[in-house]
């Protein structure tokens, strides 16, 4: 308790700023040395599959790195808006820490072309990372998250319902349970019409306990559906560790029991994630059915963030002391922060000779500016017209107002 309080004070002394992608990471530097190896997350051994990623073009690899940066900086910029801009109204379920999962998976998918040919992604209540990785237009997404009339969904949906079918991002779903089953329905239709498309669903560890988990996997297996179930196991669902509602260490074991190829990967390493996804996509396109990918990962921030947050208060948005004191041990968080997906992906590019260290850092500045521009554009967009709320109930027309009696 004491330690946390001290940290909080320290955090609130730092003015929030977007100077550094990692200003919330600074704490980790203080205590990092204390994290013993034994406390670091252990992963199931994975077959050497790096050949997939190693075969990729430089351009594609750089693209993955850029995507990770976009997700991170979208979030960092948005968090700053929440902390400093009193006009800003958007909220978010933060994805920072998990970027490599969405990025690695979507890099293995077909993201442009006619709607009947692209792969479809179903997302969760934590959608912005998936959306960016799938290729949605960031400025209009930012506008949507601030309820603007010109937002991606006209201001009707906001964060938990962002959707852009034109890039195959079927969309977010704020509910725990239904998305995987619905995604399996898309996979069913793809198979029925003889398409080689793939349906992907991103779902948290919390989804394991939902009864829909069984329906999804059972039917995917029975009908050999081209479904890829990406379980982002960030160890917690809102306030509880996943082991409190799941008897398996690896949720992938639950999927394997259905006879579905299931793999557990290090979700912080974009190459591992990409390789698993590529393998799954190849199998699905070949008519060989579903794959379950469990990516062990971690979210750095609170479960969600809302406008009007005060820096340091309830950990906005460094740690969530409420969550930490009751559930997430502080050192666990710090240990994970040392395996940051941005750092790991950059190190790989440098190591593979794809990019010089300095070029990689310059790229980050570029992305940062691009995101800032997106926010500037988005937050200058018009607000919605009240009467438009009666539209889009059905494909045509508008329903009647009833609030006037």
């Amino acid at each position: 308790m004491k330690d946390i309080d001290r940290n909080l004070v320290r955090m609130s002394e730092e003015a929030p700023s977007s100077d550094s992608r990692r200003n919330f990471l600074k704490l980790a530097a203080f205590t990092g040395a204390a994290v013993s190896v034994a406390r670091r997350p252990a992963f199931a051994v994975q077959k050497e599959m790096t050949f997939f990623a190693k075969d990729l073009s430089d351009e594609k690899l750089i693209d993955m790195y850029r995507t990770i940066l976009k997700i991170r900086w979208h979030e960092r910029t948005q968090a700053d808006e929440m902390l400093t801009n009193t006009e800003y109204r958007g909220y978010n379920h933060f994805y920072a820490g998990q970027e490599a999962v969405a990025t690695g998976v979507c890099a293995a998918l077909r993201n442009d072309g006619p709607f009947e040919q692209i792969d479809l992604v179903y997302s969760s209540h934590r959608p912005s990372g998936h959306a960016i990785a799938k290729g949605v237009d960031i400025p209009t997404m930012v506008a949507e998250m601030d309820f603007r009339a010109t937002g991606m969904n006209g201001g009707y949906g906001a964060e938990m319902h962002i959707s852009d079918p034109s890039v195959g991002f079927i969309g977010a779903d704020g509910m725990i349970g239904p998305a995987p089953v619905i995604a399996s329905g898309s996979a069913f239709a793809m198979r029925a019409r003889g398409s080689d498309q793939v349906a992907v669903v991103f779902a948290g560890d919390g989804n394991y306990a939902a009864p829909h988990f069984h329906s999804t996997l059972n039917n995917a297996r029975l009908l050999d559906l081209p479904l890829i179930y990406v379980c982002e196991n960030n160890l917690y669902h809102q306030y509880a560790h996943y082991r409190l509602s799941c008897p398996h260490d690896d949720i992938a074991s639950a999927a394997a029991a259905y006879g579905i190829p299931a793999v557990t990967v290090d979700g912080q390493d974009v190459v591992q994630v990409y390789n698993a996804a590529k393998d799954a996509v190849d199998r699905a396109r070949a008519g060989e059915g579903p794959t379950f990918i469990e990516a062990k990962t971690y979210r750095y921030y609170n479960h969600w963030g809302a406008p009007g947050a005060e820096a340091g208060k309830l950990g906005a948005f460094g740690y969530d002391p409420l969550a930490i004191t009751s559930f997430r041990p502080e050192r666990e968080l710090r240990a994970w922060m040392q395996r940051d997906p941005v750092d790991i992906s950059r190190a790989i590019l440098v190591d593979w000779g794809v990019l010089e260290e300095q070029a990689a850092l310059d790229m980050e500045d570029e992305i940062k500016a691009e995101i800032r521009e997106a926010f500037d554009w988005a937050l200058a967009q018009p607000l919605c017209k009240p009467e438009d709320g009666l539209k889009h109930v059905f494909a045509e027309g508008a329903v009647a107002a009833r609030q006037f009696g």
């Binding site: 709607f115 009947e116 479809l120 937002g151 991606m152 969904n153 006209g154 201001g155 009707y156 949906g157 319902h161 959707s163 852009d164 079918p165 079927i170 969309g171 779903d173 509910m175 239904p178 089953v181 619905i182 995604a183 399996s184 329905g185 898309s186 996979a187 069913f188 239709a189 793809m190 198979r191 029925a192 019409r193 003889g194 498309q197 349906a199 009864p211 829909h212 329906s215 999804t216 059972n218 039917n219 029975l222 009908l223 539209k391 889009h392 109930v393 059905f394 494909a395 329903v399």
Partner: protein
Amino acid sequence: MAQKSWMYAVLEAVQHEMQQDPAMTWIFELTPPVASNPGKPVINLETEFGRKRVVNTGIDENWMASAVLGAGLSGSKSATYIPYQGALIPFEVIQNVAGKLRLMTGGKASMPVVWVIEMTGQTPGFAGQHSCYEEDSYYMHIPGVRTVIPSTPYDAKGLMHAALRSPDPVVYLYPAGLRTLTEEVPDEPYEVPLNKAAVRMEGSDLTIVSSGGGMPGVLEAAETLKADGMGVEVIDLRTLKEMDTDTLVNSVGKTKRLLTVDQSYYTLCPGAEVIARVVENVDGVKVKRVAFPDAPPPASPEMFLWMRPDAQNVVEAARGLV
């Protein structure tokens, strides 16, 4: 044109749409999509379109309902047939996802989806879970989903065509007690609109409004009342969402007397909505509501048949109003 049974008429529509659209799928569980009719070829969707498009699943109505939604979102027109025992298992995903998705995505979600949901027809002897007729009210409150309830083979076919061609998700309630009805049904495809009530009899003394499984009793009662000299106007709602307020208001504006008849439970039966809409628009109306009591249906036929509204109940209620 031929005398056709309900199910034959409906499967004719489905068969036609599946022939037109090679991506369209059909998911079922117990009831194979097979129908025969004297003088007509047997329709068997499973053999005609193959087991990739026409799938027989395990007992998981939530998967069925969610799967067709996912199929629709991926661009394939899709329908499923939910047996009455699972009639409300799809409720949550329809209410909380399908109904809201178009609006929540600012119009981007496409859902050419039909859920055919059986209603028991209130068969005596089975009690509660196997005899109830309550789905109409639950589905009808959901915005963003069209809910229809045909009462004749002709409408059943026409509403099926309209439902399958609609870009909106449609809950297509099938009052299974009407499965024995037959009538002249055209062989060609045709649509019955998804937002129009049908005036089944015209008159100026009293408006009786019902739907689905309630219609045969209402029509029988109306004949009796007519023979007695009463001018009865009978309206078959046919589409519960959106409800055709104009037809109701026009009729009661003339008759000033409204009797609603439902096999659904009294509290919040469709008739409650009919009454509320009418009295918001017409002054000085006398109303009565005939409905199943607010009790789950008991098994005993003696109890059940007494509780389920029948022609005699309608006749007496009508006489009390006029």
